[in-house]
Amino acid sequence: MAGGRRGNGLAGVLPIAISAALFLYFLAMIPDVAASGALVIHWQWVPSLDIALSWRLDGLSLTFALLISGIGTLVMLYSNSYLRGHPQYARFALFLTSFMLAMLGLVLSDNLIALFVFWELTTITSYLLIGFGHETPKGRRSALQALFVTGAGALAMLAGLILLGRAAGSFELSDILRMGPEIRAHEHYTAILILVLAGAFTKSAQVPFHFWLPNAMAAPTPVSAFLHSATMVKAGVYLMARLHPTLSGTDAWLWSLTIAGAVTAVYASFKALSQTDLKQALAYTTLMALGTLTLFLGQQSGYAITAFATFLIVHSLYKAALFLVVGCIDHATGTREAEVLGGLARAMPITAAAAALSALSMAGFPPFLGFIGKELKYAGALAVASEPMFVAGAVLLSNALMLAVAGVVAFRPFWRRNEQPLPRAPHEAPWPMLAGPVILAILGALFGLWPDLLQTTLVDRTVQAVTGGDLEAKELKLWAGVNMPLILSIATFVLGLLLYAVHRPLRRGLQAFFARMISLDGRWDGFLDAVKGLSAWQTRTIQNGRLQSYLTITFAVVLVTLGGTMLARQVWPAAPEVGEVRWSHIAIVLLIIGGTLLAAFTRSRITAVAGLGVVGIGVAMVFIVFGAPDVAITQLLVETLVVVLVAVAMLRLPFLDRKGESDWRPGHLLLGTALGATVTAILLAVLETPLDRRLTDFFETASWPEAFGRNVVNVILVDFRALDTFGEIAVVVIAALAAYALLRTTAGRRP
């Protein structure tokens, strides 16, 4: 990975400084939050839309903020070495820092819409980071998939948040969190729940929206550690926890979270064991953790929520550490394949130690925090009112599988005998890359030995925030006496070690099983192809490139709309009064009809133009018969000009081809006739209404005394409505200019 020898300069250092400063800031906020419960700051943003940059710092958001900025600091430090000298490091650092700030904004927002804004910012930065390897099709595909799946969920969620805000009458969480009973009784509760969960489940990769997450591992390893394990994917979990006081407590909430969480946890655990790529295995264990967290958020008991709060921290610590360890292994040996790696402990002792400590926490061995987390999980599962055995069973199975995976990922590569040659001779990673795993691993042990450090600072207040202050946090302790959770723990160790012992044949079995199962990731490309196929079909149908069909559709729309409106609004003209009919009238009508038919049925374009000219002359004659000779002269002049110009244009523009046209077009005849009849009917209906002569009267009276012109029409043209005339002159001039340009540019182009 490491390219050149140059460092990353400011782009390397600045993100570390920013995240460290933020971490220290949040650390300093612990006493305040522990004392007061929740701090709220309100900044104006878009008051017209009830959107504010208001911030809320309580146990839940502080826990997240510390994880984000703390792990962020370590990841920034790590990345600076991991991608040392990479030509695109500056933008990488920019995206990663932007992501961190967006994520902080997400967990600190008190305003639902502001929260959504930050939510989407994490989506975009995640997209850009997954696509870091942008020249490979796999990188681009994974980036799009993540964006599309989480983006779809986010849009549903937006609708849900709007409805929630309307139901509560406020977009501020401070208000919404107090309104649980009202919201749960609201007519839109179910819609709100479904829409919000769509956002949360896609973001936190719950089955069946999980498939994007393993693919997101196309990103560089520090990104996977930070976004796709420790922080961003927990945004969905965060949202569910955040809205727990408002939305939880109904059957719909309980069952959707319990089932989605349990299925995700168990499915992901098996899937994790079936992987040979260490990073992929870790990706699935992340899924398992997300499922478990979701499962516990479905519940109401103090144990379940305490388990959630604890496991949230446990998981972030060990999972970030293990991802970074895998990055070190990859960095040092050039491979992440479980069956290739071995015997690394000798060359990478510090990495091995950090890995071991994290793995023990992950596997849930005492005295690590993971053990406490696991005990609480069992306590929480048993406290589930409705189906304790289902929940406890799911937790037990996934925990045992986790233990086996911990062994595969963090134990075996270091301690088993080296059987195959490695791509590169292993060596210890530089200190900035070791700092993260080591510190995180030590914290896992530290908190396990002194759980009070977490209890009073974060866990109590987190539980309070998630339950809305209804429930006290349960106590975090290593030894709680011999009880059911302990027995289940022992069962987990036995089962887990057993699974680890047989994990290789088991893996082959699982691989064969999953190969036969429906893979949503496999369907993804088919889905995109279907979208493309539908689009292409639609476009071929509508936008087929033929002017004739465009015109037909346009006229048909006119006919259907006008005719339909007449029917809908019952507009029908009375039969018009026909006055004296003279032979000359009939002759003119016949002339017009004849011209129309000629234009419609001729094979020659020039004849068609001439036919239309005949129609125009007929219209001029109508003007003459009804006493408007000046209009008739204008009409004759225009008509002659049009015929000549169109004829010339047709001679000059031979590339108007006639492909696909036939001479007999009954459909067009019908359409034209119907349209003409409809417009005539409308016209007759309009003529029934008396004409308001205000304007005419004014023009006639004002023409001479005020505008000094005897010819009213002329005065209208040059004075009353001079602006129209000015515009029309511009039209004529521009038409001439355009025609000139056309003739100039197409000259010599004739075939």
Binding site: V557, V571, R721, I734, L737
Partner: protein
């Protein structure tokens, strides 16, 4: 006061004449830039006046309304003129690098400025027939611009464009005739009052539908949008940018004007139709885009799709929805024009417009990547860019009106928009160029690069500003929408105080 209303029309016309006279030299292009800068000043003055004093009107030739022609500006007209001036300035600067001397000699700058004059005239006129005249000015000027290169595909697109638009023009004219026959007036404020006295309200609805179709063609709604994707990918990039930004929006503006000011008598019928039109326009446009691979064809179909959102704002016909429509109009013009400008730079340095045959921009032209991602993600509705607020307001309005289905469609179309924008991003920017080429901005001569990037950068900055500080824009849109829903001030400004 009348000069302040006439300036936005007079300035571009004068610019056109001067630019035409100077078309043999470089002075022409700089005159165009100066003229558009002057237009911007005039538009700002106009906007300031309307903001402070309310609706203003001027009677051309001194003939009182409804006998002469009235120019009138409310907040919607004012902001449309302002955004036209901004677009005009950006595109005229961009043209410094984009338009070759041959096109200049054939009168590019004159045509361009006449087009701008026509657009401003359409936004400012208070007279229905005069609006028709401005439509004609726009149509002929845009046709001239479209065929200026003389390439066969330009002629082909131009003919489809002009033919279908002529159908719209004829319908518009027929509608004017019918409406005049029923009311005896052409002045829009006068019409607003006169239609109330029309006995046969059903017939009025029928006539309203002729206007809906006529402006529907102009706005490129389903199923009348054929001319747009047929033509917009063919002319010079400056031309397609100004078309993309402004032309369809004049149609949308006219629809909003007519169906708030005059035809608000049967909203249960007319606005329900508009709602379905909006839905189909959004969906067919976005699917059309998904099927394309040419940079500008993708963008063209997206214009159609986005028009649907604006029509939706009109169709819902609530204060919030009209706020959304106004906000959407302004946001969209900036973003869409800019994307076409970017397509031009991309074509210059990658040598192609089919996104599957170009690439490498992210790696070797990162500045362009930044400039693209701002309008592209804004168009896709990502926060905190302008498009998010536009979409948010519309969707919120739809949900408030209990339009569950239409809100769902609007959101789903947003997702498909993301899909198209990321297609351009993934193929043209992320993917390596299939020819192994490393497209760099420095491949363009400095004299071209600087103005083109300046224009793009300016519009992108505006998008970011609207996104980060939306409050003044929302407040503005709220006042504009209030004026639309209660046209009393508009009518009073045109016809004088009642009594």
């Amino acid at each position: 006061m009348s000069w302040i209303l006439a300036l936005p029309i007079a300035v571009p016309f004068a610019t056109a004449v001067l630019a035409f006279l100077a078309r043999h030299s470089a002075a022409g292009r700089w005159l165009s830039v100066a003229g558009n800068a002057a237009l911007l000043v005039a538009a700002v003055l106009l906007m300031g006046t309307v903001w402070n004093e309310g609706v203003i009107a001027a009677q051309m030739g001194g003939w009182p309304a409804p006998f002469g022609i009235t120019l009138v500006a409310d907040l919607l007209s004012g902001v449309m003129v302002l955004i036209t001036a901004i677009t005009g300035l950006a595109v005229s600067v961009y043209a410094l690098g984009d338009i070759n001397e041959r096109k200049e000699y054939l009168g590019y700058h004159a045509l361009f400025n006449v087009l701008i004059a026509g657009v401003c005239g359409a936004f400012l006129t208070g007279d229905l027939f005069n609006l028709y005249v401005w439509f004609e000015v726009m149509l002929i000027a845009s046709f001239g611009l479209l065929i200026l290169g003389g390439k066969p595909e330009q002629i082909d697109g131009g003919i489809k464009y002009v033919t279908l638009n002529l159908v719209s023009t004829i319908l518009f004219l027929s509608g004017i005739g019918l409406l005049y026959g029923m009311t005896g007036t052409l002045n829009m404020a006068d019409l607003a009052q006169a239609v109330d006295g029309v006995e046969n309200q059903g017939l009025l609805t029928v006539v309203a539908m002729t206007f809906m179709i006529a402006f529907g063609v102009k706005a490129a709604v389903f199923p009348l949008f054929f001319w747009l994707p047929a033509a917009y990918h063919t002319p010079a990039f400056s031309v397609s940018a100004v078309f993309a930004g402004l032309l369809t929006k004049v149609g949308v503006y006219a629809l909003i004007r007519m169906f708030t000011l005059i035809f608000d008598h049967d909203t249960g019928f007319t606005h329900t139709i508009l709602l379905w039109v909006a839905a189909f326009t959004m969906v067919t446009g976005v699917l059309g885009a998904a099927a394309q691979s040419d940079f500008r064809k993708i963008l063209s179909f997206h214009i159609v799709s986005q028009i649907g959102y604006m029509i939706l704002g009109l169709a819902l016909y609530t204060p919030m929805a009209l706020v959304g429509a106004v906000f959407y109009l302004v946001h969209h013009i900036v973003v869409k024009a800019n994307l076409f400008l970017i397509a031009g730079v991309s074509q210059r340095i990658t040598g192609g417009s089919d996104v599957y045959r170009i690439g490498g921009l992210y790696k070797s032209a990162p500045l362009l990547a930044v400039l693209f991602i701002i309008p592209a993600f804004s168009l896709a509705g990502f926060p905190p860019l302008s498009g998010f607020w536009a979409k948010y307001i519309i969707v919120k309005a739809a949900l408030e009106a209990q339009g569950w289905l239409i809100a769902g469609i609007a959101l789903a179309v947003g997702l498909m928009t993301i899909y198209s924008m990321t297609k351009i991003w993934a193929e043209a920017f992320w993917k390596a160029h299939p020819d192994g080429r490393q497209p760099r901005l420095t491949d363009m001569p400095q004299a071209h690069r600087r103005p083109m990037l300046l224009a793009i950068g300016g519009l992108a900055t505006l998008t970011v500003i609207i996104g980060l500080v939306p409050e003044p824009f929302v407040q503005f849109a709220e006042r504009a929408a209030a004026q639309l829903l209660d046209p009393a001030a508009y009518v009073a400004a045109v016809l004088g105080d009642p009594g």
